[in-house]
């Protein structure tokens, strides 16, 4: 089925999220929608999926104008969507999830589960998936859950399939497999819209590329275009994709983590006997697929985990057993991976967020009273220094874009005297321009002689920043390798294998 969007315009108050966007996707074509966060990709897809009503413009399927009142209409018309956050019910089985919203019933209103199972088996066989229709979603790995989403869309005869940032949660291997699935779907004649901001993936599978910036189509590109060309199209200016950094000049050991084990409240081991040493002026990247204990490792250092064994010694001070306040006061700066949830208070102003973890002493507090003048001066200075784009320091942080929010977190954490800096997923969801900025600041922190830990699931980021790389798998450190280790070796390590050259 051919999908055509004509002059789609969607406004939210004064803001135009989509401005006369035209897009044509032919059957048997993978069309990449490339753009920074906040460029309007998701809005456009929500219009297509019937979640938003466009203010202007029309959606055509095989040259027929469509009117979608809701996702139900879009699905019936043959549009399927694989969301970034899976829309699956964890305690239901695969078959139950696939039939959800489209339940067939036998006489007396009894669910016809057998039909759903057959459908799952049939589609699985077609693509060579090995999926048990009776497996519970919560027992399946993330990559398989995504396949269930694909099956769900295909079970409703989707002829146009939208993948919204599908690779964010996958290992490099799983990503490659997903690419294969997409190619197979394309060969069957499905029209595919692939939304992403990862340039490497785009160049790998796309037949055509449309770049969106600030709600407008700014250009089309061929898959043969270079990364730099695509990036500059996306951002609207030339960007440097590599991080300029001199070789590390590591000093003495600063942080010594030994035999660290973290368990959760039911006794499940989240971090398993981890030991490593970090020197001053060195960046250690902790790589690994999301959910392999990296989060818990950083939280354990920050005093945010409650069941911690082993020791974490920073400059001779034991951190295990200290409160988060104590750890912060020891000179640890922390950028949490979920900045909206753990790093910022959305209803607070930029200025208030800049003192969020400095509420105990001068210059911001004297005799229990906030020093608003000192805070205002400090905030104005930091907003300029970190290039936070906002109307003023009284703007609520919840109204800033992801990149500007992250700059606020960085400004706060980097303006203290640091003896250790931990940044978890520092560029997740950021646009190319902001990524560049964040990376520069991290390298500058290292060059100032601070030991740095960067946790990232993005291999590009890991290889760009790391002096050394620790790969985590199921709570253990599989190995610590030099920063220039090839991607495929890292990929294998992320999947739990210990390549021979590493083991040696």
């Amino acid at each position: 089925m051919k999908l055509e969007l004509r002059g789609i315009t969607k406004r939210f108050g004064a803001l135009t999220a989509n401005d006369h966007i035209d897009l044509v996707v032919q059957p048997g074509e993978i069309h990449c929608l490339l753009g920074e966060n906040g460029a309007g990709k998701s809005t456009l897809m929500n219009v297509l999926y019937g979640l938003y009503r466009a203010d202007e413009g029309e959606i055509l399927l095989d040259d027929q104008v469509q009117k979608f009142e809701g996702p139900g209409d879009a699905m019936n018309a043959g549009i399927g969507m694989v969301h970034q956050h899976f829309m699956l019910i964890p305690v239901f089985t695969v078959a139950e999830n696939v039939m959800l919203g489209n339940e067939n019933t036998k006489a007396g209103g009894v669910l016809d589960l057998e039909a759903a199972r057959t459908k799952v088996r049939e589609i699985s066989a077609r693509f060579g998936f090995d999926i048990d229709p009776d497996a519970k979603i919560e027992d399946l790995p993330v990559g398989v859950q995504q396949r269930v989403e694909i099956i769900k869309a295909l079970s409703r005869d989707a002829k146009v399939l939208v993948f919204d940032e599908p690779t964010a949660v996958l290992t490099p291997q799983e990503t490659d497999e997903l690419m294969d699935i997409m190619r197979q779907l394309k060969d069957e004649g499905t029209a595919i819209v692939f939304i992403t901001h990862k340039l490497r993936e785009v160049r790998e599978v796309a037949d055509r590329i449309t770049v969106i910036r600030l709600g407008k189509v700014v250009g089309e590109a061929e898959p043969s275009a270079t990364n730099a060309e695509l990036a500059s199209l996306m951002v609207g200016r030339a960007v440097s994709l590599t991080v300029d950094k001199a070789d590390a000049a590591p000093g003495d050991d600063a942080l010594v983590v030994s035999e660290l084990t973290v368990t959760d409240h039911v006794g499940q081991v989240l971090v398993d006997n981890v030991s490593f040493t970090l020197k001053r002026g060195e960046i250690l990247c902790v790589a690994g697929v999301q959910g392999n204990g990296q989060t818990e490792l950083t939280e354990a250092i920050m005093g945010l985990q409650h069941r911690v064994l082993g020791s974490i010694v920073l400059d001779g001070t034991e951190l295990v057993g200290q409160s988060t306040r104590g750890v912060l006061d020891s000179g640890v700066g922390f950028v949490p991976e979920d900045r909206t949830e753990d790093g910022l208070v959305g209803e607070f102003t930029i200025a208030e967020n800049l003192m969020l973890d400095r509420y105990t002493s001068e210059p911001f507090v004297k005799a229990g009273t906030l020093q608003l003048d000192a805070l205002a001066r400090f905030a104005a200075e930091k907003v300029t220094e970190f290039d936070v784009r906002a109307q003023g320091i009284a703007t609520k942080v919840g109204r800033l874009s992801g990149g500007n929010q992250q700059k606020v977190v960085l400004a706060r954490e980097l303006s203290r005297e640091l003896r250790l800096f931990i940044a978890a997923q520092p560029t997740r969801g950021l646009d190319v321009g902001s990524i560049e900025f964040v990376h520069k600041r991290i390298v500058a922190t290292r060059d100032a002689g601070v030991p740095v830990i960067v946790v990232s699931t993005e291999l590009d980021e890991v290889t760009a920043l790391a002096d050394r790389i620790a790969v985590m798998y199921r709570g253990r450190i599989i190995g610590i390798v030099p920063g220039d280790t090839p991607r495929d070796v890292l990929g294998l390590m992320m999947a739990g294998e210990t390549p021979s050259e590493v083991a040696a």
């Binding site: 939210f12 108050g13 803001l15 999220a17 929500n46 979640l51 969301h83 970034q84 956050h85 899976f86 829309m87 699956l88 019910i89 964890p90 993330v142 949660v169 959760d264 409240h265 039911v266 999301q290 959910g291 989060t295 818990e296 920050m302 945010l304 409650h306 409160s323 988060t324 306040r325 750890v327 912060l328 006061d329 922390f334 949490p336 991976e337 979920d338 909206t340 949830e341 753990d342 790093g343 910022l344 208070v345 959305g346 209803e347 607070f348 208030e352 003192m355 969020l356 973890d357 509420y359 105990t360 507090v365 229990g368 009273t369 906030l370 608003l372 919840g398 109204r399």
Partner: protein, 423 residues
């Protein structure tokens, strides 16, 4: 599966980190409405109250029987019913213009309104403060009773020199409320118990505890009495009148003004209040920033309990000086929730909302006496105010107000939120 979910799930199971439940988000939207909504809600409630007055007025009913022959009569009757009712309400709560010749008598209703408002404001501040930290304090009744009993015991049975007696009774009362409130914070912090359940249950415990003490000779019951009532407050412990002996207005109102300023300072200018607000807006970020969320819950409930306790002290030493009884709460504990709601959980807002509710209470009596309109109409108006504040979209639709910025959803868009639930 992101780590956020893991932390949230872990928090729900582990007692160390009681995360606020999702319904608190909805409450927050209700409590955080704009001043405009509050004002329009009052207007709407008065209109609907007027409608009820019209429907129940006997003259309107009579005239409407011959509406089609002489419609004018009906309209006159309607105007008289509503106009008369609200005029009486005004006379009873602000200024009695029928006695304008004698200023002292004409102004009496206003002092009555302020007297009524005193405990409402104090308790409203307690509810509002807890709410700014994300806690829904429904325990006003229990905190009032315990504070009143503590202050009442000292006031009635422990003779002391003047001034000192008053201060000791006041402080003991505040400590009573603080302990009863702090208990809620402690239970929440240590066990993860939901504060709504805990406060409701503590209300019952307080009520029956006080009832028991009031029936126990040697405890609170007045010696040689068989009624469940304490002895009268000693002269030295009674709140002094501040506007002359002929008015009921007492020093409690001054204390409430001080309390309002204190809460304003606490929330907006103090380091402690900064932590309070951070925990209330985003406990996760507060925890990562080194704030001890559990200790904050305890601290805020101690202060909130003391504020609500001030209402109890006012009842014991100001309004029921003849002796306290188990009914002295008089619904203030729950009205305080409405006052905090109308005041949008801001100290200044609570202050004026308390005065409005105090005025409605005072005026209702005059309305009944002068126009024969049941006091319940005022309760209905109060209830309508709550209803309209709780449904801002309804008010916006009725007044054709624009909806707030749709792009501003800090707590993740609806779709992502749903996805999180299913993950």
């Amino acid at each position: 599966m992101t780590s956020t979910d893991q932390t949230t799930a872990g928090a729900a199971a582990a007692p160390e980190t009681p995360a606020p439940p999702r319904q608190n988000q909805i409450l927050k939207e209700i409590f955080g409405g704009s001043a405009m909504i509050s004002f329009l809600a009052i207007i709407l409630a008065l209109i609907f109250g007027g409608l009820l007055i019209v429907l129940t007025d006997p003259v309107v009913q009579q005239t409407s029987a011959y509406f089609f022959s002489r419609p004018g009569d009906t309209f006159v009757a309607i105007a008289e019913a509503v106009g008369g009712a609200y005029a009486a309400l005004f006379r009873g709560s602000v200024f009695n213009y029928l006695r304008a010749d004698e200023f002292g008598a004409a102004i009496r209703p206003l002092t009555e309104s302020l007297t009524n408002a005193t405990p409402l404001i104090a308790a409203g501040l307690g509810v509002a403060l807890a709410f700014r930290v994300g806690l829904f304090n429904i325990g006003g009744r229990g905190q009032i009773l315990i504070a009143a009993a503590a202050a009442g015991y000292v006031g009635a049975y422990v003779p002391m020199p003047p001034v000192i007696h008053l201060i000791v009774a006041l402080v003991v009362g505040l400590i009573g409320g603080a302990l009863w409130g702090g208990l809620v914070g402690l239970l929440k912090a240590r066990t993860g118990a939901h504060e709504v359940i805990v406060t409701i249950m503590l209300n019952y415990i307080a009520f029956y505890l006080i009832s028991f003490l009031l029936r126990t000779p040697g405890a609170l019951q007045a010696p040689g009495q068989s009624n469940p009532r304490s002895g009268p407050m000693l002269e030295t412990a009674v709140f002094p009148k501040i506007a002359g002996e002929e008015y009921n207005l007492n020093i409690g109102f001054i204390l409430v003004i001080v309390a309002t300023i204190y809460v304003w300072y606490l929330l907006n200018r103090s380091a402690m209040g900064f932590q309070f607000r951070a925990v209330g807006e985003n406990p996760h970020a507060a925890r990562v920033a080194g704030i001890n969320v559990e200790r904050t819950y305890i601290t805020v409930m101690v202060i909130a309990g003391a504020l609500v306790g001030l209402a109890g002290v006012q009842q014991a030493l100001g309004n029921f000086t003849g002796g306290i009884a188990a009914g002295l709460d008089a619904g203030i504990g729950f009205d305080a929730i409405t006052v905090a709601l109308l005041g949008r959980s801001k100290p200044i807002g609570v202050f004026f909302a308390g005065i409005l509710f105090g005025a409605l209470k005072a005026g209702a009596v005059t309305m009944q006496a002068a126009e024969g309109i049941p006091v319940d109409i005022v309760l209905v108006v109060q209830s309508f105010i709550v209803l309209f504040i709780a449904a801002p979209p309804l008010v916006r639709a009725l007044f054709r107000l624009p909806t707030p910025d749709p792009l501003f959803h800090w707590r993740k868009p609806q779709l992502a939120r749903k996805a999180e639930v299913t993950k």
